[in-house]
């Protein structure tokens, strides 16, 4: 490894050291860039490159999930325990086999037992969790201690982002209006219609905030991909391809690879589109 002088970059002070990039890593970076742009090609149109990438994704994601599940659950919680001679572990093994029999036509009824077990287990666990955390705690916390709120923030406090008696009352009334709006089977009298309208307004403000955050979240994901395609996910260190090669800036290398792959994909799409138009004619 060659040690070069320190320099300032957009990442702060980074020692420029030439790292050796193996051919395997280089191939990996190419594949990574190709697959990224292949998926992005869907933005133009559904095409064979995208379909190929999509099916590779399906296969690899299920395989990785199954591998991690094997090492994370089956091996420590079942196989190793059976190997130690723990007889009680035979029961989950039997249930598991019965569950897997669902793929057969003759014996698929056997899967009802493990399915009943797991559905009931989740139902029991969710029942208490939702009742305690969502029902009781949330309702309890909605009821404000108005004298204490008034003492701390007054009617309205800009410094505390609008906290105060007004906001506390607005929250309670807004919550009640939303709950009454969800009571769809209630008779729609004039007063009920007004309450329902208030509930909808509160919900729209809530969903608007959600939408704003959703936009932020989605763009963040695209930023992550762009950072990788532009080589900004790692410091712009010098690299050599294999030991003894000329040093090249990693960021420049990645950008060159991205541009080349993009041009190849564009050319492919143009040719494919032309062929399709020709066939349609």
């Amino acid at each position: 490894m060659i040690t070069l002088p320190l320099t300032t970059t957009g990442f702060g002070i980074v020692p420029l050291t030439a790292e050796v990039m193996t051919l395997s890593n280089l191939a990996g970076v190419w594949v990574s860039i190709f697959l990224t742009l292949a998926i992005f090609s869907f933005l133009y149109e559904d095409n064979p490159i995208y379909k190929l990438a999509e099916h590779i994704f399906l296969g690899i994601s299920i395989a990785i999930g199954a591998t991690e599940i094997y090492f994370g659950v089956f091996k420590p919680n079942l196989i190793d325990k059976l190997a130690e001679g723990r007889l009680l572990s035979i029961i989950p093994l039997m249930l598991l086999v019965m569950l897997l029999l669902k793929v057969t036509k003759k014996l698929d009824y056997m899967a009802k037992v493990p399915i009943a077990f797991i559905v009931a287990a989740f139902a029991g666990v969710k029942l208490t969790g939702e009742a305690n955390a969502n029902l009781m705690t949330q309702v309890a916390q909605t009821m404000p201690d108005l004298p204490a709120v008034y003492e701390e923030h007054g009617i309205w406090s800009w410094d505390a982002d609008g906290a105060g008696v007004f906001s506390s009352i607005f929250l309670v009334l807004g919550l009640c209006a939303c709950l009454l709006h969800f009571y769809f089977s209630a008779r729609q009298t004039k007063s009920m219609a007004v309450v329902s309208k208030v509930g909808i307004i509160v919900l729209m403000l809530s969903f608007g905030a959600s939408f704003g955050y959703t936009v932020m979240g989605r763009i963040s994901l695209a930023i992550g991909r762009a950072q990788e395609l532009l080589g900004l996910d790692k410091p712009p260190i010098e690299m050599t391809i294999g030991a003894g090669g000329d040093p090249i800036n990693r960021m420049s290398l990645v950008r060159m690879m991205s541009l080349t792959t993009l041009i190849i994909i564009i050319v492919f799409l143009a040719v494919w589109q032309k062929k399709r138009n020709h066939q349609e004619d």
Binding site: G10, F11, G12, I13, V14, P15, L43, Y44, S61, I64, G65, E68, I69, F71, G72, V73, P76, N77, D80, K81, A121, F122, V125, K126, T128, G129, E130, N132, A133, N134, T137, Q138, A140, Q141, D161, S206, A209, S210, Y213, T214, V215, M216, G217, R218, I219, S220, L221, A222, I223, G224, A226, Q227, L230, L232, D233, K234, P235
Partner: protein, 282 residues
């Protein structure tokens, strides 16, 4: 004018996509930095972690995948750096199958930077499937849930797990969560039952859902999306600086500026065109 507005409204969406791509790439190539104020929910999270003493044990649930990496990895790294800097013992687990291969290099990288010893200063228990059932087991008996760790060491034999049997034996729980199962399930299943202190770093999409939990005191801190991670990065690296650190979320926040402006412009111009054409049609 009417024809132009009509055509504008039915603009091929690929031009919109191209505009989105430009609004993401341009600020990356020509960054413009604006300062930002730290959110109160992130400050609250940071302040509580600052109260941790050396030797305190914290459970970190790393529940994210490559898709949510841009939002959560900066927080995760900063969080581990923060706790390692305070000599806090960290036990990490995961409920997402795609998390272990993703977070293992991050954990090892940060542990190496701080000279942390596996099994004494930190441990990675690996992945457990089962959603709410797995969380319930972490609450009841974490040793039974994770009989071996990610390196197939017996969990009960690890020095760091001395005195740890249930979730309530940890000082607090840090949930780095991209969705289901994650923070919400921790709050619903075990926070109330065991009166646990839980904080969350989550994606922007989930943040509005978790604000009620924060306000109700069920979470002591909430870092939402890229801004949350960026604010936390700023706080951590100001007090615990690292030479050459890459504050990825802070840099990404500068890119978000133009992205958001682009969406706002699309909404506004789309509506202007809609109303003007509707007026003409009426």
């Amino acid at each position: 004018m009417y024809q132009f507005l009509k055509r504008f409204q039915s603009l091929d969406r690929r031009w919109v996509f191209l505009g989105m791509a430009i609004s993401i790439v341009l600020p990356m190539l020509f960054p413009v930095h604006f300062p930002t104020k730290v959110d109160e929910r992130v400050q609250s999270l940071y302040d509580r972690l600052e109260e941790l003493e050396p030797g305190d044990k914290v459970f970190v649930s790393a529940d994210f995948d490559p898709a949510s990496r841009p939002e959560l990895e900066p927080f995760f790294r900063a969080n581990l750096h923060h706790m390692f800097s305070r000599d806090v013992d960290i036990v990490i687990g995961s409920l997402w199958p795609f998390a272990p291969p993703l977070v293992t290099p991050m954990i090892e990288d940060l542990a190496a930077q701080h000279g942390a010893v596996y099994g004494e200063d930190y441990a990675f228990l690996g992945f457990k499937m089962g959603n709410e059932l797995a969380i319930k087991m972490i609450g009841d008996d974490i040793i039974k849930a994770f009989p071996v760790d990610s390196r197939e060491n017996v969990t009960a034999d690890l020095p760091i797990m001395n005195g740890i049997r249930q979730a309530q034996d940890f000082e607090l729980i840090m949930s780095v969560s991209a969705g289901f199962p994650g923070t919400k399930e921790y709050v619903l299943q075990i926070q109330g039952q065991y009166n646990l202190e839980i904080a969350s770093s989550t994606t922007a999409v989930s943040t509005p859902d978790y604000v009620p939990f924060y306000k109700a005191g069920q979470l002591f801190g909430l870092a939402g999306g890229m801004p949350g991670s960026a604010h936390y990065e700023q706080l951590v690296y100001e007090d615990y600086p690292v030479e050459g650190v890459r504050m990825m979320a802070t840099q990404a926040l500068d890119v978000l500026n133009l992205g958001h402006l682009y969406i706002i412009i699309l909404i506004v111009f789309g509506n202007i065109a809609f109303f003007l054409t509707r007026e003409v049609e009426e």
